[in-house]
Amino acid sequence: MSSNAIDNATLLSIYKRAALIKANDERARKVILSGQIAMVYYSYRGQEIIPSVMGEILRDDDTLCTIYRGIHDMIGKGFPLRELWAELAGRRTGSCKGKGGPMHLTYPPRGIMVTTGIVGSSAPIANGLAWAARLDQSDRVSICTFGDGASNIGAIHEAMNLASVWKLPTIFVCQNNLFAEHTTFEKMTAGGNIASRAAGYAMPGVRVNGNDPAEMYLAFSEAVARARAGEGPTLLECMTFRFFGHTFGDDDSYMPKEQKSAAMAADPVPALRARLIADRIATEDELASFEAEIEAQIDDAVAFALESPWPEPDDLRFDVFEKEIAA
């Protein structure tokens, strides 16, 4: 890990985000297995460093368009846990009043504007948020995240071309976890390199180890600086790995066992933790007490969710249009 480039405080802060993101995933899987909450769940375990770094660098007014596998991105960006869990539990106190669910989580106060369940659709919308930033003469940036599989769908390409010709402050964050549902990245992605496609749009394209905090930090900072300075978009291909199947509970036999166990052995979150201790950036006690705090926060959020009221059928009539209209 070549983390010399970032200071200790930043590295610690990145770890703290990553630990929260990881703990939240672990809890989610536990809660599903226990039957407390039934939901379709796309585990992001293994991909925590990417959003932890992004969260570290981004401001609240920077916007995010993410995907079904995006809770890590959202927590990185500051999605409050109570509203998150209540939404996962389908309760009226959820950020989306239970209407959206895990695939459509939204929280504008922290710039979390769109979560889409359609592969590739985060990118075109992010361009609009970027356009608005420029119209506002703001230096805020617009992030979209998407997977390796998404890189082959038309929307992504249209969005990259538009961002480049309009020189928008959009940052395309491809989280390449090597699988798209059951399909391996190399098999369906011509060229085997997504970052290199950026050249065709005259935009910087950088492949980084998304599990390496320093590498990720440097690349993402640069992209953000470029965007804030009005120099246009960047495509980042962040190499990572997803530890579980596509949806939690699915048969993941299509994932080669050795590849998976090697990736899990190199789990970036405990690796970062060990590094913090080894480099005396934090003590075991400090981290352990922080981790206990996290668990308590999640306890609180889950309890809040489970105690919250369910929506009423009548709620279907509202939020279709601003004013209820008999159709």
Partner: protein, 339 residues
Amino acid sequence: MSAPATVPVAKKPTVTILAALAKAYQDIFAEDPKAITLGEDLADPEGGGITKMTKGLSTKFGDERVRSTPISEQAIMGAAIGASLAGYRPIAEIMLMNFTTVAMDMIVNHAAKLRFMSGGQTSVPIVIRTMTGLGFGSGGQHCDYLEAWFAHTPGIKVCAASTPEDAYGLLRAAYEDPDPVILIENLPTYFAPMSFELPDAGHRVPLGKAAIQREGTDVTVVTYARMAVNARAAADVLAGEGISVEVVDLRTIAPWDRETVLASARKTGRVLVAHEAVKQHGVGAEIAAVINEELFGQLKKPVKRVGGAFSAVPYSKPLENAYAPDADVLASAIRDLLR
């Protein structure tokens, strides 16, 4: 392009629908700094759009607010949606309605649903302008009326005008609406001078409100877009035969004005629903189903529907002419209802 023969040109031509829409654009941009627009060729270096509707706009209001785009309809719709989430009011042009087929995900899965899926935290106040309509021999991929798809999609409203005044008023009302609106514009009647006034800047056509364009007592025609032009012509002809036709132009196709339609149907007891879209599973089906249900036992005749033929839009002139009802076909359908 010129207006084809089947569009009746009024006696005192004063203004076109195109001019009215161009004025609406100008007035909106002059009044609201949040107004932005994008689409293929819309800015002045590209001539202000294929119909020149937006000519002058980018020069006057800046090319950051009035943007030509690549040929990338998903990117166009995405940019409009994103900008609207941040407080802007985009008018996005999808040049022809058939090209919405490459942007349906953005329109249906996103624009129409984000308010609901976010529990009301976000909204997408955009106008999608799109042109269509047969008459120029463009054939199977340039003329479809697809309003039924959008009417079937909760979260988006659908409008179409058949007069310059309504075109102006609808674009302005759609622009001010807090939710996505698709405004369908009929190309062949764009250029036909009609005896209407160019409205002043205060004019609005409230969404969801139909217009009774001809009052009558014998038969109600429920229609919109170019078919309303044809219906007015048919009504004029039939008046000479002593048949009194009430022409109801929906203007907002979804959600449609049930009250006005049902009141007229109750009065006349005979209803024709007419649109250029394919008849089967068109918007006319919904209207007929509702009228039949609400006025069960009160109608003199079952609701009659006419619409586009059950085929792709054909190229050859005689086929194109036969594809959708003209004023003559409407008139005979109305006479049938009185038999």
